[in-house]
């Protein structure tokens, strides 16, 4: 997962993909993972970030998630700062699945 534009300053959240299902997840306050960005923990506390990183690395080693990395969060909106991460958080703006009956 590209972290090229990650500044690592200001509020941060931790994200990854589920290994089995592949969907995007964000680490929550109880150090578990949620598929909903609204549940993501955001922090600037280095100690908390260290705990998040440790949990993320552990979960990756335990084959629960893949591609763990921190993302910058906009302080004013609480949303991911990077454009790409905004899309990961909110999902596609159009998905033909929405037109499929019963979806």
């Amino acid at each position: 997962m590209s972290t090229l534009k990650h500044k690592g300053k200001g509020p941060q959240s931790l994200t990854a993909n589920e290994l089995r299902e592949g969907l995007n997840v964000w680490m929550t306050e109880d150090l578990t993972w949620s598929r909903d960005f609204k549940d993501a923990m955001t922090t600037e506390d280095p100690d908390v970030m260290e705990r998040m990183k440790h949990r993320g690395d552990t979960d990756e080693a335990d084959n629960l998630v893949v591609g763990v990395y921190f993302i910058d969060i906009e302080p004013e909106t609480g949303l991911p700062a990077r454009y790409r991460e905004k899309f990961r958080a909110k999902g596609p703006s159009i998905d033909t699945a929405d037109l499929v009956e019963g979806s």
Binding site: Y83, F87, S93, I94, L99
Partner: protein, 550 residues
């Protein structure tokens, strides 16, 4: 139709079993992600922006109704009920789960399909003219050659780890419908002055971040020399292609840096080492493969039967659809039917599972059970009786598949962009929809005529924007999408790379600017001129003036 031989069946079955074990080892940690990633990519499984994505190979865009029904079943069972036709004639599923993929591959194998060579630095799925075997303007059916290449390139051990991916396209028509000059190797089946059929070999074309039109490496290659000669090209590339820089690793860079004369000399030198032609294919083997592609049992019919003409005269919607979506067939009384996958409410190239089943049923009823996918992200029923067209049209209408826009301004090639792709820098699907909406008036669309707009959501150019009459590249700066415009690209036999007009636009500005250019073209065009013709006559400046008028 192509068919597996005993080797294909064994290879695919073994690969499915291998991948099942690899997934098990990944899930229990015996394989790390770094170890597993190349293994999943070798089976067409990517990890994209939101989820895994499975790309399934459709050899030279040829499908049977049975295969399409299975693809529909897979869309429902493992995905969200739809698939996406790609610019390499393949199909992608956007939402599969890793734990299901071994079963998915097993279901694909049941209908002689797989995801081999839809990813990675190998020879990718060979593409071809979607009208192959049906059109009157071809020298011969290119599919036997494409099939020969499929068999040769499938898991070719020497070419499994090339410097970069390698794409081959084959056509047998002077009207290029396979963009052969934008491929690593483009093959045109030609006749020489003696009437012998052979191959015009073009090398070093490609799009991506460095668009280059391919050059002739051999004007006429005798038929039996095809595989040894391609082997020589691949060997030169494998040895001298750059591995130090991913962005300079395609054969187009090697050919450009070496020069076509020197590159040709290197290939000829390597070719001389290959003789005797131990991998040349015997005429008997060629005949065996060609027999797979025998014509279906056409009826003896007259062209343009009365009922068909009378429906054209009395049903305007049908007449418009015939005008844009039907192409001439080599067999009297038959037609090639293009099914547009570009309705306004859908991402270009997407098709639901219900529509796949419908197309499969219609193929069985009206087209000898055969379907094609196109690099334009549409589908084709290649052999339909003209007398069946009125009822077929009604059936397509009921299924939402009767959009009459083939080759026109709303028939846009468009990559998945930021909505799905991990590499994208901006969205492309909403831009495509905004343009399609702006030009949705059918009368106006027809007045504009043939027009190719192509949109890519990043510089990797999966949406072929370099060869669009109008090409659009989505970029992003400081969280804001903007769109760069290229003009004058051409994906046909007159292949050309478009030129950038200047600074980019917001989506709204872009659509307004395109509209101004189209209006300018309509005002300035000469008799019978398409947009690209008027552009080529007048040059970029006047179009740029109206594009940047604000």
């Amino acid at each position: 139709m192509y068919r597996y031989d005993e080797f294909d069946a064994q290879i695919v079955a073994e690969r499915v079993a291998q991948f099942r074990r690899q997934v098990e080892r990944r899930l229990d940690g015996r394989l790390s992600e770094a170890e597993f990633r190349p293994l999943r990519l070798m089976n067409g499984l990517y990890l994209q922006l939101h989820a895994y994505m499975m790309r399934v190979a459709i050899p030279y865009g040829t499908l049977s109704s049975r295969q399409l029904r299975q693809l529909a079943m897979i869309a429902d069972k493992y995905d969200k009920g739809y698939g996406h036709i790609t610019t390499r004639q393949n199909i992608q599923y956007n939402w599969p789960e890793l734990i299901d993929v071994p079963d998915l591959l097993n279901d694909l194998a049941e209908v002689e399909m797989h995801g081999f060579q839809t990813s990675g630095n190998c020879i990718r799925n060979v593409t071809s003219d979607p009208y192959a075997g049906a059109t009157a303007d071809e020298i011969e059916d290119p599919r036997p050659t494409a099939e020969l290449l499929r068999q040769w390139s499938t898991l070719h051990p020497e070419f499994a780890f090339l410097p970069r991916k390698f794409k081959i396209a084959v056509t047998a028509s002077p009207n290029d419908r396979a963009v052969i000059k934008a491929h690593d190797i483009g093959i045109e089946i030609v006749k020489n002055d003696d009437g012998d059929v052979g191959y015009h070999i073009i090398v070093g074309g490609g799009l991506g971040r460095t668009p280059i039109i391919g050059q002739t490496v051999r004007a006429f290659l005798p038929r039996e020399e095809l595989l040894p000669y391609l082997e020589a090209i691949l060997r030169v590339y494998n040895r001298f292609g750059r591995r130090d820089n991913k962005y300079k690793a395609r054969i187009k860079i090697l050919v450009t840096e070496t020069g076509i004369e020197e590159f040709t000399r290197m290939v000829d030198e390597e070719y001389a080492q290959l003789k005797p032609l131990d991998i040349a294919v015997s005429p008997e083997e060629v005949a065996r493969i060609t027999a797979y592609f025998a014509d279906p049992d056409y009826e003896t019919l007259d062209n343009e039967p009365k009922a068909y003409l009378s429906e054209i005269a009395s049903n305007r919607d049908f007449a418009l659809w015939v005008d844009s979506n039907i192409a001439a067939h080599k067999q009297a009384g038959y037609a090639i039917v293009n099914i547009s996958l570009k309705p306004l409410d859908r991402a270009p190239g997407d098709i639901t599972s219900a529509q796949m089943r419908k197309v499969a049923d219609l193929a069985d009823e009206y087209s000898f059970g055969e379907i094609r996918t196109t690099h334009q992200q549409n589908m084709i029923l290649p052999h339909v009786k003209q007398s069946d067209l009125p009822v077929l049209f009604k059936e397509l209408q009921k299924a939402g598949l009767a959009e009459d826009n083939i080759g026109m301004i709303t028939d846009i090639i468009c990559c998945p962009g930021m909505d799905f792709c991990a590499l994208a820098t901006a969205r492309s699907i909403p831009v495509s929809q905004a343009i399609a909406e702006r030009f949705s008036d059918p009368e106006r669309e027809r007045a504009i005529g043939e027009m190719q707009i192509k949109i890519s959501g990043c510089i990797n150019a999966c949406g072929h924007h370099h060869v669009g009459h109008i090409g659009i590249l989505g970029l992003e700066k400081a969280g804001v999408e903007f769109y760069q415009v290229k003009l004058g690209g051409d994906a046909s036999e007159n292949a050309a790379v478009g030129k950038v007009t200047g600074p980019g636009f917001s989506q709204e500005e872009l659509v307004d600017g395109i509209e101004r250019m189209v209006d300018f073209y309509l005002d300035q065009r000469g008799e019978g001129e398409r947009f690209i013709d008027t552009y080529n006559r007048l040059g970029m400046e006047p179009f740029k003036e109206v594009l940047y008028v604000d």
